[in-house]
Point group: C2
Chain length 654, copies 2
């Protein structure tokens, strides 16, 4: 395989990953016109009319002109190479996910059709498969179809309409799109000598033999293959990443291609939109369910594949790029809670940095400001920001209060020095004092009417957190393109252990879907896998987490999080069991936790922890609802795009 | 009609509305056992085996025991009265809306089935129709059915499964529920001499002759009536309120009952869940499409109706309660923007107060704290809170800065005195000064690295708003069951004219779906329709809105909102056109706005306003995403439960 992506990418985007050694920004090398010519000369002889390009691209939702221009360049290359076809992801011309914008802005849909017609004009013999949004001109149903147009010779050759419309988790296709009538003959296009069946994303996910409990009663792949016997299936997808997803996707595609003895070419987009990140990793399976080609993850790519049906296997085309380290190790569904996060850490890192980069750059921001406490959450967040945006674009502020230890201050500074991010230390003692004084005055007045004032309260803790957020948002008000960052992690969000208008306030929350035990693993992974090793000081990795907002009366030292909550190892297993096994409190009580195999745990303690978990989670629902955007990372999450629960509810967690 | 609701309500809930004269809390009169006997004696003779009770009840989502107990009391009454049937709303036993809780907590579903079986045991001859969530035991499809069980003689007689599953606007049924196979014979139950067809909510909304563009290709009502010729249709619904909805519902039900010459009995729930409020207003239509009975709005009711098929019309049973004033006036779809909000003001008032009350009480809160500026938004919010929660449970804090005028301070105090809510004045000058000093120090340090500091910024404005929020959240930290309230209105949220961690921060945002021009109308309506007239000082209604956060350099006086934004009358029409007509900028440019008919408006000015609107709206998307819960009021909204747009998007508003 000869990868000409870099050349194209350079023109279209300034995003670049640098392979195995993370944390170093390096501009992609631009090809000279001569080099480009050389590539074309070298690559052309091995291409056939059956060759297909999987255009692994990154669209911008609603920016149809941008998406059009990107498609146009890819198509020009494909034409120059005289390949059989080039396939773009689902809904590429409009951008995915669309959510409700097509209902509110029907002009967008008109525009995407106008540009589809313009795109058709750019085509020659090479067939172009491109996702777009189509009006439903029929009398009944939702207003739109989620369609793929096949373009060639300056014309729209045919249109394929998605039939299976997911509504679950982060998907809401059936909100906007009408499920189309299905006719397998309309799904077949000719690419060279091959008769190719075209499907759209979810249409691949309905195999009755693969899934224990399929969602749909209809399987388009089965129908196409049985009725039309195509030489190949092309699947145009926009499929988000999350833990375990690659394993499921690979197993499913491998199973289906083997079952029907039919190769499957799968193209997926890259880039991120708010909470959703796309991995790319477009690929080709042969008739035996073997993966013969896979594109890179989290990068745009002009990926050339040669369907292995009737032609000799060409090693130099069907190249397999390694997935981010370790994903192959997770091909079996996880049966028990484990602290071995290693297989998912590279993907986690790339998902979060990719989502930060796109959220900032696509929204016109370039700088991040965050508070660094010397604790784990803000330290990991700081590394991720530095790698995503460049250290010069990060301002890390240490904002000590009277409770903050000297070690915390120096750890935070050391981290920032290691990363090369901008650093300043500003004590918040005065802000705290004035706020407290003003509040004392307020409380005295309120007390005259509401006489049941709490004897102990979180007021002091929260004033500190809110003063810090005021400073970060102040910087964002004062300096261009700067965004404050929320540093809450998933374990603490489950417990509501985060301050409204405080640490959970920001324009983006990079680690909100990463549990504390996984964050520790990620921190160690970062220290090993970044070019500049051990950026996170060892002290940060070894000290027990604590918010340093209050003094523990028992010890006279800052209250530790595990004392306020419960051991993180236990907490994270509760979350895992809840999200993945949907276990009730009773069920959790009757099973042995990993923590219990290592520590002598009284039954009463376990009951108290579980009670605390479910009680605190119920009151944390409100906080989830006002969280800023945060990348979905885990297999299941409390991310707003994925999980929706009424705040006003009494579940009693039977 | 003899209304025995009050008696039952008293036992189940302490919620009570007081009819026409709002703003006065009065405990419902409890019936003595003798009075209860009298009612039963009086009412019994006019009841027949065909009589039906529409149980207009208010469930708590997930609190199955609570819902069960409520149902049990209603059923005992129905049994005592020996009526033919009692019908509860859709999904009543589990509570509606469920969102994703049934996926994550399958035990809840087990529990609701256990309680359904217990409920069956409570039944006698009177048939009970009750909504519940059923496991899908079939191999394929979503895990659950949205079902209605028919119970009688201690048994589950039959189960009816919903076929049309809405996914649009605030609805997401198809996320969790499988659409059931339809067999019209299974929809028929016997109630006295009547053969009755049972449908669930959305199944009524698919008439090909009524809707210009029906969403579904299948119409269960048509099928049942043509195949089974029932004497009556009962529709078990959980249908939220919003502007224009009553008009649409009435027209549709009237049309369908007339078209098929078949009466329709419609039962709907009351109460609120986060952003969604239910109006109740259960009703009965005769074969001519005439409404012959309608229950009260926004109140629980044990509503007895007598299907007018083969029996004489009994005036004392089929009573029509007036809807909140004026809804009948909106029976025609609005063609042009209008400032005549009068027809919707009572419903708006009841929707918001009902939603505040339920959000507080069902979540264990009772007190609200808010900042009162002497402006329109906080004044109207304060009235709504006082009426919903009782003035003694409100603490209104005036927090003047150096910009706050004397008039604003005295207006705020006068309002609070009129309402009898607790009031305190606390200047924020010190907090502002210390924050500003700390920030100046921060900015100096940041400037050494980021040298492009803005010349003018919103920093000062926002420090004021954030200091105020810190005070309100401090009170919530220090006093039990107290919740800070966000006072942002819809017009300003569209423009992003609200401060993060400032005025848009709170536990609930009562007026976030009310535009500014409608708020003025609502304020005047409140002054006319509350027992204590003119609670809102005239000065608040006449002065031009302004946030009093900054001085206008042109006038030397506080900057007015309309100078910072555009005239509210124009702004609100842009919003109306966008939400209801889905017009683009170009389309709006070519049409004449109401404002233009009154004011000489330059084309360039109009273009500038529209540009500003769309530009500011795009950057406001983030703020919408972190808004606290807010009741859906308008016909269309930007409420998170209803409207979802990627923040990372470039629409260009073609």
């Amino acid at each position: 395989m000869l990868d000409i992506t870099n050349y194209i990418k350079k023109e279209l985007s300034n995003q670049e990953f640098c392979g195995g050694n993370y944390g170093k920004s390096e501009a992609p090398k631009e090809l000279s016109p001569e080099a480009k010519k050389d590539i074309v000369a070298k690559i052309k002889p091995i291409l056939t009319p059956e060759t297909i390009v999987l255009a692994q691209v990154d669209p911008i939702v609603g920016d149809i002109e941008y998406n059009f221009n990107k498609a146009k360049k890819y198509i020009e290359w494909a034409n120059e190479l005289k390949v059989g076809a080039i396939a773009f992801p689902e809904l590429f011309l409009l951008g995915y996910p669309v959510f409700d914008i097509i209902d509110r802005y029907p002009k967008l849909v008109e525009k995407n059709i106008e540009y589809l017609e313009k795109l058709a004009k750019c085509t020659g013999k090479t067939k172009v498969l491109v996702g777009f949004c189509e009006f439903n001109r029929f009398y009944i149903g939702k207003r739109y179809f989620n369609s793929v147009a096949v373009l060639s010779n300056k014309k729209i050759e045919t249109i394929i309409r998605k039939t299976l419309l997911p509504v679950y988790s982060e998907f809401s296709d059936a909100r906007y799109f009408q499920s189309a009538e299905f006719d397998s003959s309309e799904r077949i296009i000719q690419i060279g000598k091959n008769r190719v069946g075209v499907i759209i994303c979810e249409e691949n996910w309905s195999d009755k033999d693969f899934f224990d409990h399929p969602v749909y009663s209809f399987d388009p792949v089965d129908k196409i293959i049985k009725e039309q016997k195509p030489d190949l299936i092309i699947n145009c997808s926009s499929s988000p990443t999350r833990a375990k997803k690659e394993q499921l996707l690979h197993n499913m595609l491998s199973f289906v291609s083997k079952k029907y003895s039919t190769p499957i070419a799968y193209v997926n987009q890259v880039g991120a939109v708010d909470n959703i990140t796309f991995q790319g990793a477009s690929r080709l399976y042969d008739c035996d369910g073997k993966i013969v080609a896979r594109a890179k993850s989290f990068e745009e790519q002009f990926f050339i594949v040669h369907p292995p049906v009737k032609c000799p296997n060409r090693e130099d085309i069907n190249r397999v790029y390694a997935l981010p380290d370790g994903l192959e190790k997770t091909l079996n569904s996880q049966k028990a809670f484990s602290l071995d996060y290693e297989p998912d850490l590279e993907r986690t890192y790339l998902t979060i940095t990719s989502s930060i980069r796109d959220y900032f750059h696509k929204n016109g921001f370039k700088r991040a400001v965050l508070g660094v406490s010397g604790g784990l959450d803000s330290s990991v967040t700081c590394v991720l920001l530095a790698d995503a945006l460049g250290p010069e674009n990060i301002f890390a502020i240490s904002m000590p209060s009277s409770i903050t230890s000297e070690a915390s201050k120096s750890d935070a500074k050391e981290l920032c020095d290691n990363l090369g991010v901008n650093f300043a230390q500003i004590p918040i003692l005065n802000m705290f004092k004035t706020s407290r004084d003003t509040l004392d005055e307020v409380f005295k007045k309120v007390e005259t009417k509401w006489c049941d004032r709490f004897e102990a309260s979180l007021t002091n803790d929260n004033i500190q957190a809110r003063s810090r957020a005021t400073i970060l948002w102040g910087i964002a008000n004062e300096f261009p393109k700067a965004m404050p960052i929320a540093t809450s992690d998933k374990s603490e969000l489950y417990m509501g252990y985060a301050t409204i208008n405080g640490d959970m306030s920001g324009g983006f929350a990079p680690i909100a879907d990463v549990t504390k035990t996984k964050l520790f693993a990620l921190a160690r992974w970062l220290n090993r896998n970044r070019l500049s090793r051990n950026a996170i000081p060892e002290a940060i990795l070894t000290k027990p987490p604590g918010a340093e907002l209050a003094i523990d009366p028992k010890t006279g030292k800052p209250l530790l999080a595990e004392d306020a909550l419960m051991p993180y190892e236990f907490l994270d297993e509760v979350i895992w069991r809840l999200e993945n096994l949907h276990q009730s409190k009773e069920e959790m009580l009757s099973e042995t936790f990993l923590y219990e195999t290592k520590h002598n745990t009284q039954k009463a303690t376990k009951i108290a922890w579980l009670d605390k978990f479910f009680r605190r989670m119920q009151t944390a629902l409100f906080k989830w609802s006002i969280m800023p955007p945060a990348p979905i990372v885990d297999a299941r999450s409390i991310n707003k795009t994925e999980y929706n629960q009424p705040i006003t509810s009494k579940l009693k967690f039977y």
